[in-house]
Symmetry: C2
Subunit: 273 residues, 2 copies
Amino acid sequence: MTEAHPFDRATALTPTGDGRSAGATSHDYANLAGPFGGATAAALLRAVVEHQERFGDPIAQTVNFCGAVADGEFAISAKNERTGRHTQHWSLALTQNDEVRATASVVCGTRAPAFSYQPEAAPSAPSPEAVPVAPTSGMMNWLQRYEFRFIEGIPSFNKTPHPEPANSHSLWWVSDLPARSLDYVSLAAISDAFFVRMLHVRGTIGPLGTVSLTTYFHATPEEIAAQGTTPLLGAAHAKRFNGRFHDQHMELWGKDGVLLATGTQIVWYKDDG
Amino acid sequence: MTEAHPFDRATALTPTGDGRSAGATSHDYANLAGPFGGATAAALLRAVVEHQERFGDPIAQTVNFCGAVADGEFAISAKNERTGRHTQHWSLALTQNDEVRATASVVCGTRAPAFSYQPEAAPSAPSPEAVPVAPTSGMMNWLQRYEFRFIEGIPSFNKTPHPEPANSHSLWWVSDLPARSLDYVSLAAISDAFFVRMLHVRGTIGPLGTVSLTTYFHATPEEIAAQGTTPLLGAAHAKRFNGRFHDQHMELWGKDGVLLATGTQIVWYKDDG
């Protein structure tokens, strides 16, 4: 029997018989404090994907990070709010010691052949093999669970900010480490694997945290299955930093330039400017 | 006593003493069936804005349209999930006959002076006075509650689709009709006032509906107050149409090119291509 991938251990859930599931944070995906937010998002999506009432495939997910998730056990409740003819809506909460640490909504839907068009073409990029892997040794554990190959926009961890705001845009190849075939749950995590834009624009890291994260899954199950372990191409940028909150927008492309997911998040930050 | 603006009537809520509020859809904001989704989003935001436990100003809202909202009365429940030092998280549900028709999450937060930067400049555009108002007479009522001045990307309501997909991008000036000073609640509605991208890309309208809508409020209360009744500049585009779902991304700028809000939505559509 092969050992489970660290990602599957980090997001594993056990039904507890009361309509809830039990999970636990994993040292493998530790962030500066608590777990990588993408692992939390992934566990919340898994609660729907593995639910016996689930109908259709993931279409949209919003995760609200209400409070710091602590290292250790958590419970997830998943409520099927409504199952329609084409879509199904879920409301979720992640609790620790009966305190809500995250809420989420997930929409599933049935895919069918339809008018298809992708206005957002993948940006041109060198092949993954041509781009060096960013060194993450000694950094937060979750960074060591991905191979990042920066093409444009390398984050900085300086002590003093750039004299002028730098470009918020970044472009990279990303893949699970060790390699793991893509599924919706890992795509949910990767959607939060972009470095916070403050590291790009200011070049410093101060107190900050994602407040809300929304991901749209554009890929059909067949397109997800076709990715295997091939790196995904990801782009992210910000539109405004103001009064302690800034946004971030991202795209993730797969083989043949297929747009697999798009997303947005809003981040609280403290930086007196 | 002056009569209330139609928007305020359409989104008015009355606390019913059980932690819920009562409202009703308005003929003034009627869509093809049921109310304009932006009016529903606005009523949900109002439930938080007017809540006695509300702390800070709106930062983010996600609305999930679970089922068709029918014309008539509705109830909104608003649960304060967690109030932190900087943010407050709400979970909401809109019900009719005790059936969930929409769920929502709202994040409020305290704004403070901080590093400020707006990478997304407003696109150049002629002044509102230089752009004719799009005729909406005889169309759905909610369209007659706004003045739309299309600069780029005019929607089409043809019987047969364009031979090739057209540009998904549009740019317009928008303002409430009659004029109304901007607030967060009206900004939430305007964030959903972009025409669905199918009208731009395909030029036809078939069965479709927004499934999930996320809006980020970048403007401080002072910036909101400074807008008054001046038209807002809005841009929207799509990134992918696939398997009956497509996304839409938008920006709304105010005076002096300040980015007031950004947002995204995912739309179900039926179009066999």
